[in-house]
């Protein structure tokens, strides 16, 4: 794995959708950014400015109706949009992980937190929940998402992102809807984990004042 190049490189990326009139409506326009190993990047923007779309596009995933108009996204010097679906599925959640905006909505509400594919994964899940400082991991694993507080849900999402030992971590407004204390704890937690694991990169996508607190000066 290459360690000295850019981990994420987005060049002249435009994403949009075709409206009813047939006109192309851009959501992202000519985005350029690079993230190097060990670097944190904050992206600040108002609601609806396309931060979540950019985070998903960095993973090669565009929601239904959206399409790439031009530009490229490279992850570890490989064009992510040129990769096949199985290749992308291996990268996502593994080398490249996302912590979604609203974990309450992002966790499947019909499944328990501990609904794992195999019983031998329980020990690993317990360990990850401890790493994100969730007390009583066994109780968390047996619970449904709606039984957890917003902060606990967010920590579970962080634990899920850590599971694949990612090279890059995308945070899509990870403190939205949380109380002020938890808003302070989540970036602190992520910084600690990134430091102890020696992650190559953490790309923080956030909005409002918290972005400046979570990352270095922002570039858009």
């Amino acid at each position: 794995m290459k360690m000295d190049g850019n981990v994420i490189e987005i060049h002249d990326l435009s994403v949009g959708f075709t409206g009813r009139s047939g006109a192309t409506l851009p959501v992202l326009r000519n985005i350029d950014l690079t993230v190097r190993p060990g670097e944190s990047l904050g992206i600040v923007g108002e609601s609806g400015s396309g931060k979540s779309t950019l985070a998903l596009a960095a993973m090669g995933f565009l929601k239904r109706g959206l399409r790439r108009l031009n530009g490229s996204v490279s992850f570890l010097d490989h064009d992510i949009f040129a990769r096949t679906r199985p290749e992308l599925e291996k990268i996502r959640g593994g080398q490249l992980a996302l912590i979604p905006q609203d974990s309450g909505q992002s966790l499947t509400h019909t499944l328990r937190i501990g609904a794992l594919p195999a019983a031998e994964h329980t020990a690993r899940a317990t360990e990850l929940l401890r790493q994100v400082r969730l007390p009583d991991p066994a109780a968390i694993l047996s619970g449904f998402p709606h039984e957890l507080s917003g902060g606990q849900q967010q920590r579970v999402a962080v634990a899920m992102a850590l599971a694949g030992e990612p090279r890059a971590l995308l945070l899509d407004e990870p403190t939205t809807g949380l109380d002020v204390t938890t808003q302070a704890h989540i970036p602190e937690l992520l910084r600690d984990i990134a430091r102890t694991r020696g992650w190559a990169v953490a790309l923080s996508i956030a909005v409002r004042w918290r972005a400046t607190d979570a990352a270095k000066p922002a570039r858009t």
């Binding site: 239904r64 996502r92 899920m160």
Partner: protein, 295 residues
């Protein structure tokens, strides 16, 4: 406490018990479920309790009215109608009891899959489904049955195939709302494949719709099976079957109506029972928009 398989099973059982309790608390559900349960129990134990053999003929007792020995009279061959009515649901319940889950499973999977994939392939497949649905059901089934035969080995896959097609539409209609949820986007971002997303994210959220759809399809399938028997394309004589009994007795309906009334009441009560249960199930699962209604 970790979520062990045993605790998951207990949760599922308690969920089933809660839904059943909700269904039984509604008048329509209580009546419907009782009717369905009674039919299923009768179908299971009828060979043990019938007073006569279903092929036992008595030429001296043809088309006699109901009496103490023959509660529903006899048919044109002197066979006991009550015996044949009790046994008449076994074939229908066993064929449709297998074909219904098969139809719901394959139709549900295809519908969810195309709802997830979307795009042009989804558009094309839905138009193919529309084309299938626009054809009269009896015509489609008769083409296959006349070509392949009328045995159970043909009837079960035929019914399962044709009744799975409307299930595709229902499952497809319920899927996009789930696909748009953040949990599906998050699953994609975690690198889950389509099959995992279908199994873990979509199916649990469309299952309620599929359960109600299955109950509705079961009643339609029973009617279709009995109609095929009535037309001579279902089970073969002398096997007792409600559709076949109605076809046999309709020529004598004006002076021996019991030969028709027995199987008609049995068939209608089962279909009404299934429909009432499906209605109550839809309300219990929150699918019916009029779920606040007491019935």
């Amino acid at each position: 406490m970790t979520a062990t398989p045993a605790s998951r099973t207990n949760t599922r059982l308690s969920r089933v018990a809660a839904v059943l309790g909700d269904v039984m608390s509604r008048p329509s559900g209580a009546i419907g479920l009782t009717l369905v349960a009674a039919h299923v129990v009768l179908a299971l134990i009828s060979p043990l309790i019938v007073p006569y053999g279903y092929t036992t003929m008595n030429s001296a007792m043809m088309l006699t009215g109901p009496d103490a020995a023959h509660w529903l009279g006899t048919d044109h061959l002197g066979r006991n109608v009550f015996t044949r009515v009790l046994l008449g649901g076994r074939e229908a319940l066993s064929v449709t009891g297998i074909a219904t889950p098969v139809a719901v499973i394959w139709g549900g999977f295809v519908g969810i899959f195309f709802g997830l994939v979307g795009g042009r392939i989804d558009e094309v497949m839905m138009r193919v489904v529309d084309a299938f649905l626009s054809l009269p059901w009896i015509l489609k089934m008769l083409v296959l049955i006349v070509t392949l035969g009328t045995g159970i080995e043909v009837l079960i896959p035929t019914l399962a195939f044709f009744y799975g097609i409307p299930v595709i539409r229902s499952a497809r209609a319920g899927t996009p709302a789930v696909v748009a949820r953040d949990c599906v986007s998050a699953a994609r971002a975690r690198g889950h494949g389509r099959m995992t997303i279908i199994r873990r994210e979509l199916l649990p959220n469309v299952l309620d719709t599929l359960m109600v759809e299955g109950a509705m399809r079961w009643s339609w399938m029973l009617l279709a099976f009995s109609s095929l028997s009535f037309l001579g394309f279902g089970v073969s004589p002398p096997t007792p079957d409600w559709g076949l009994m109605i076809a046999d007795a309709r020529g004598f309906m004006s002076f021996a109506p019991w030969g028709v009334l027995g199987p008609v009441i049995a068939l209608s009560s089962l279909i009404i029972g299934i429909n009432l249960t499906a209605d109550a199930l839809a309300k219990a699962l929150g699918i019916d928009r009029a779920q606040k209604a007491p019935v």
